[in-house]
Symmetry: C2
Subunit: 94 residues, 2 copies
């Protein structure tokens, strides 16, 4: 885990059709392995599922005191600029 | 600010029609006064606006390294149980 902290943060893409429990499972595995993870979501439905996944993951990894940090990121998809929300999820103590 | 930390966390209710910039303004004022705040949102549209407001507030209070902590809260509204998302927003270092 220590070595992976210097690598890029793994990115999990979330859509409005994503199952929050399955996203939480992936998030849990990623955080256990890499120490942190990043969710990427475009649109209200996707952001909703992403936040639910973080709440579920907080309960699974309850010893970690996970926090999330939202920010805006402009992505170019099919030559169009879309504003996505990036959620970094990691333990409170860095 | 020190005295207010022992009081209840101020709760700001967010709806799908809330303007994220205005919520961010209220959030900024509340965090400056009380040290932290809580957003309450029901449904994808409301959660979307709430997360945008947190991202905007992080930029406004960039010296604070704000983090957010999502959790599920069951509310009784008109005799019906609705699951809301609670977002605690506070500086990373408690």
């Amino acid at each position: 885990m220590g070595e992976m902290k210097n690598m890029d943060v793994p990115v999990l893409k979330v859509s409005s059709k994503s199952n929050p429990n399955l996203v939480a499972g992936a998030l849990t595995g990623t955080i256990r392995e890499a120490g942190r993870a990043e969710l990427q979501a475009i649109g209200a439905g996707a952001i909703n599922q992403a936040i639910k996944a973080v709440a579920i993951t907080r309960n699974i990894l309850s010893d970690m005191d996970l926090i999330c940090i939202p920010s805006f990121v402009d992505l170019t998809i099919d030559d169009q600029i879309r504003t996505s929300i990036k959620l970094v999820v990691e333990p409170r103590a860095k």
